[in-house]
Symmetry: C2
Subunit: 189 residues, 2 copies
């Protein structure tokens, strides 16, 4: 995804050594043509793997996940967030720590939307410390479905989430990998 | 949108006289084929009006708004939610009361994403009491942009938000209008 890397260099804003803002085209304002290209790229990588469900978490993952689901002709499910979830037998839940918000969140998916026969691809806009990905993988595990892999738009390699996910056997396919944001510079791997 | 109405009758769940759940195809699990048809229908209604931006609010509006934006070949912007927003000169903000969560929320959009020259179509999955729509319209007004109208997937007419929005001159185009959910029955207008 050369175009994505170019767009990040052109429109991304480095706020500090940990935070890259891409809110002008990916997760606040959305360039639909670009996310459709991203969806097609994930499709080409993961096709022929029997994927029948795309799973993401609200809110930033939804637009990309829709584009991926369109290519696969399968439903998209987004996990919802809640700070204080009432226990409910109809839901798979997982706890996720948000470093951005410095708080624990519950994410949940209604059980009937992920079934044991499903073959699930996770999709998200960013992979940093891997908290969201871990929560989503946990939900897939609870459901008994098969986790095929994860498609990530931007991986911040220096924050280790991708490394740990791969160590645990998850196939993580990132379109762009960022080695460092030090000195206000975006360094790709 | 006969297909949408049929789908609501088939898969919608009436929780009580105020709440209709359509989370198996619209706002938790998403049927991408259906939301693309919805997007196309909004496009056909609002085409030739010079719309150059689609605005919604996270999270449930995002998937539909993406489909609409794809038809118009324009960017989609989703307002973000926050419970306690730090004052920030870069943002347009509005206060929205969530009846579902029984709490006030701030919604915000970065100023550079809605400019005075823009012609904006609002999109959302539900219109009930109109709180979200009012907040989005307020943000458009602050920006100086032109508000063309609102495309709503499901309007709960008995909750009056649509009526009030139309009284204030906003063109609200709802694909399905629900007159009542009394006695566990979905009554369309």
């Amino acid at each position: 995804m050369d175009e994505l890397a170019q767009r990040i260099l052109k429109d991304g804003r480095v706020l500090n050594e940990n935070v890259l803002k891409v809110d002008s085209f990916l997760n606040h304002q959305v360039d639909v043509r670009l996310i459709d290209q991203i969806g097609q790229t994930f499709f080409e990588h993961f096709r022929n793997r029997g994927i029948n469900k795309i799973l993401t978490v609200e809110a930033s993952g939804i637009s990309v996940a829709c584009s991926v689901a369109r290519c696969f002709h399968v439903p998209m499910v987004f996990a919802r967030k809640n700070q204080s979830l009432v226990l409910n037998n109809d839901l798979f839940t997982a706890e996720v720590f948000s470093f951005t918000k410095q708080q624990k969140l519950q994410i949940f998916v209604r059980k009937q939307f992920i079934e044991p026969c499903d073959r699930v691809l996770l999709v998200d806009d960013f992979l940093a410390r891997g908290e969201a990905l871990k929560g989503l993988a946990d939900i897939v595990k609870q459901s008994g479905a098969t986790l095929i892999g994860a498609g990530i738009v931007i991986e911040k390699v220096f924050q280790d989430g991708g490394k740990r996910a791969r160590e645990f056997g998850l196939e993580v396919y990132s379109l762009v990998q960022i080695a460092s944001l030090d000195k206000n510079q975006i360094q790709f791997c």
